[in-house]
Structure formats: C-alpha cells, structure tokens
Amino acid sequence: MKGIIGKKLGMTSIFDPTGKQTACTIIEAGPCVVTQVKTKDSDGYNALSLSFGDKKEKHSANSEINHFAKAQTSPKKFTKEFRDYSIDKNIGETITVDIFAEGDKVEVVGTTKGKGFQGVVKRHGFHGVGQQSHGQHDRQRAPGSLGNSSDAARVMKGMKMGGRMGSDRVKLKGLKVVKIFADKNYILISGSVPGHIGSIVLIQK
C-alpha cells in the first residue's frame, strides 16, 4: 500500500477532450514527512508513520517536539500510520503527490460532515408511516412499530431509531486521479470526498 495525508480544499469540474464534464475534488496532498519507520523486528508489523501540516513549537508538548526532532522536522499537526508501505523510505524523508499518477484508482478516507440528531427517515432511509390526507397528521416521518407485543416484551438490540448522524469515518473506493499539480501539491480526484472543506483526508492506493 502507498498513501498520503491531504486537506480537502473544494470542488470544481474538468473537461475531457470529448467534452465530457467530470466533477472533481481538489485536495492539497502532502508533502508528508516520514516520522517513524516500524518494522516486524522492532514493532511486530511493518508501517510508515507520516506527518502533515506545520504546528508552532509553543503549541506542542516536549514529547512531540522531541519525537519530530528525530526526523529533523518541526512539529506537525497530523500523524497517520500506513501499514506495509510499498515504497522504501527512511525516517526524515518526504512523500509528495508524485507517488500517484493521473488515471490511478485510489481510495479516499475521511470523516463525513456531522448532521446532528436526525430522525429515522434521514438516518436509516425509512419511508415514514402516514399520509398527508385521510385525517392523518404528525405521522409522516414516524418510525412505526418497534417490535412485537408480549412475546419478547422488549425492544430488540440494534433497533434502528433516531440519533446522532454523520461524523463517521468513511472510505470511498475506486475514485480516479484526474489531474496532479505537483508544484502546488494539488491532486484532483473524481467525484466528491467525505468531509467539509479543510478536513483531513487520506489518499491510498
């Protein structure tokens, strides 16, 4: 596997030579610093720890400053571990968008926008119970029955109800790399990507 940490910047669309318009998301991906190399001998598994986004030293704990000093960089905001990284990198080296090429199929991991407390229609795709007419009201977005009567006499575990929605970690597969602006570290990925503008996403292949 190979991957990079990025920041979602916004959306636009792009034309292919035949005139077909594709919506795509602009992500500022990297450059990421390798801050730790984990190996099977020392840690039990192989992984690279990548860090992205500068942070001031006065906002960092001493333990953080010293950890990043081993990689000879300033403290970073975000650190993520990528298992079994397919490119050999040493501590302190950087990873840029160059690891991807235009046309690659990638996976994008992000945290979806928080939706707050939502009812069953929005949260679970229920259709509601009642109609607007025939003397009914107040039942259009209702969940309906929660279960059986006296046999069981309880609500089953995992019953779908209203509640907090969104802010979930989501992985989208099969997205295409449409374009790369290497000097600006921008990568354009087809379609939409979870999260709000400015949120952190992982791009993996």
């Binding site: 034309f15 030579p17 318009q21 354009l188």
Partner: protein
C-alpha cells in the same frame, strides 16, 4: 490566490468569444460526435442566463423551434464549443430572463440595443 481559482486558471484555455450577456441573440457552433464522425451544429437563440464563475461557468440559450420553446445549456469552457457569434445585442433590464418562458409570439420579442456611433470614429 485560492486553490479553486488556481486550478481554473491552469485548466481554462483562452476563449475568444465576443462579450455577450443575457438578452443578446447568439449563434453557438457546437461540435457533435456521431460514431466516429464529427460535424458542427449551430444553435441560434437568445441568451436567457449566464451562470457560474471560472472554469465551470455556463450560459443558457433559448429559441423557438416549430412553435416549441427549446433551451440549451452550454459550458463556456467546453472543448466542443467551436465559436459563438453575436448577432444582436438586446435591450433588457434583468440578468435572468426566465419570464420569457411564459411568453410567445410578439410579447417574446427582445428590443435591440441601439449603439451610439460617434462621428470621430468614422
């Protein structure tokens, strides 16, 4: 410069369209691909809307074809638009002419803008 503006600047090539706005009568010459053959189709009508900014901007052209209203949306930066010809500048007061959809015949006409030609220029 923000990221979207930067990407738009990189993507959009130069377009030498005449400047037109809502109310103007234009002819859009549009490339159509049928199988592996290409041909140019022209669409002549009034611009009723210009929408969006940068690389994603588009405009809508409305014409009456066999007494049926037809509207078509063209992206400004589509590679399939070969040229846009400005036929007539319209004298209108709004940016979006959606009221044209309810009109037909004489009331759907758009007054032509009269240009002042200075004597010095001649």
């Amino acid at each position: 410069m923000n990221a979207i503006e930067f990407v738009h600047e990189q993507l959009s090539g130069k377009k030498d369209f005449p400047k037109f706005k809502a109310g103007d009568n234009v002819t859009v010459n549009y490339k159509i691909i049928e199988g592996n053959k290409e041909r140019i189709q022209s669409f002549k009508g009034d611009v009723i809307k210009k929408q969006g900014t940068g690389h994603t901007a588009s405009f809508t052209v409305r014409k009456i074809s066999d007494s049926i209203g037809v509207e078509r949306v063209f992206p400004f930066y589509s590679p399939n638009i070969q040229s846009v010809v400005l036929n007539k500048a319209g004298n209108i007061r709004r940016a979006k002419l959606f009221y044209q959809r309810k009109r037909s015949g004489k009331s759907a006409r758009i007054r032509e803008k009269r240009m002042v030609v200075s004597a010095v220029a001649q």
